[in-house]
Subunit: 161 residues, 2 copies
DNA sequence: ATGCATGCAAATACTTTGCATAAAC
DNA sequence: GTTTATGCAAAGTATTTGCATGCAT
């Protein structure tokens, strides 16, 4: 965790940005909630616990900065909010998501399943792939087979949105 | 074109919705701009040419309805707007997109390249896939190789956003 | 001192909603 | 005549921006 913060600090410095206490608190929240897909508002509320004086605008500005630096990916599941997803270290593309249409849970696939597909895109469509966004919509393993008890599916117990 | 409108009309009627003149005008705009990725506002402006009295709210409501009926897909490229993309007939999933980071053009891949990947997702992640969203970010065939003349890339001549 | 970063409030952008009217069945 | 759809305006969200202040070099 510490070294990831350090690395991000270096990335900031490399572009002559500072790791201010507010930015550090924001990054820490993201590191601590790596599995989640937090909206700017979510991040704001969590950062406030560490740095109560922080403003929402600063959080937005920090998330924008981190997106630029490719520390996080700004993703969108079709509800009206952008969510921010920490990239794994050394990984140069956004990972995949599984959105459950029953319970709303969002799970991640870290493994890159698009290698072959990207080759086809580059060859057949003459498109130089730099990054990708892949989301599947369907029924997650928790909801699967329990369509009879749909109503009881509890997203809070399941994957994180 | 006519038959596609007819088919959409039937889909509406099947759920006891009406094909009002406003809805028809909206659908016609979508059919005429199949290659584009129009925002609600874009659709509104185009529909106004056919039906000047239409209100923006009606366009939003119609697009929402068409999304429900899976006539269109509501997609999002990360700029703050939802865009609406007509599904091909008989196709039951969203098609793929190629977003050029140089010129902003968005091209489509109609062919489904995810068959194998979905099998893996279903087997290894126990996730029943119902639909998907796949977007590649990179350099399109028009911009490719002309990085020296970047500034001259003209999205209006290229694919449509 | 200078420049970057912050907090707050105001502004903007997009989308949804309430409600009275109008059209369709 | 009852339901469904529309247009307008108002309200809601999400996000961005302006600006005075603060912090760090």
């Amino acid at each position: 965790m510490e070294n990831r913060l350090e690395r991000i600090k270096k990335q900031l410095h490399a572009q002559s940005y500072k790791l201010t206490p507010q930015r550090e608190a924001t990054v820490m929240v993201l590191l601590e909630h790596e599995e989640d897909h937090l909206s700017a508002e979510d991040v704001y509320l969590l950062v406030k616990e560490k740095a109560p004086e922080i403003g929402l605008a600063t959080v937005y500005r920090t998330l924008e900065l981190l997106t630029e630096l490719k520390v996080v990916d700004k993703i969108n599941f079709g509800d009206g909010v952008s969510r921010f997803d920490l990239r794994k270290e050394g990984v140069n593309h956004s990972h995949h998501h599984l959105v459950c249409i029953e319970c709303g849970a969002v799970d991640e696939i870290q493994e890159d399943l698009l290698g072959e597909v990207e080759k086809i895109v580059e060859k057949d469509f003459h498109f130089k792939v730099k990054d990708h966004r892949l989301t599947f919509h369907g029924i997650c393993h928790r909801c699967h087979g329990q369509s009879a008890v749909k109503e009881e599916a509890d997203p809070s117990l399941a994957g994180n949105v």
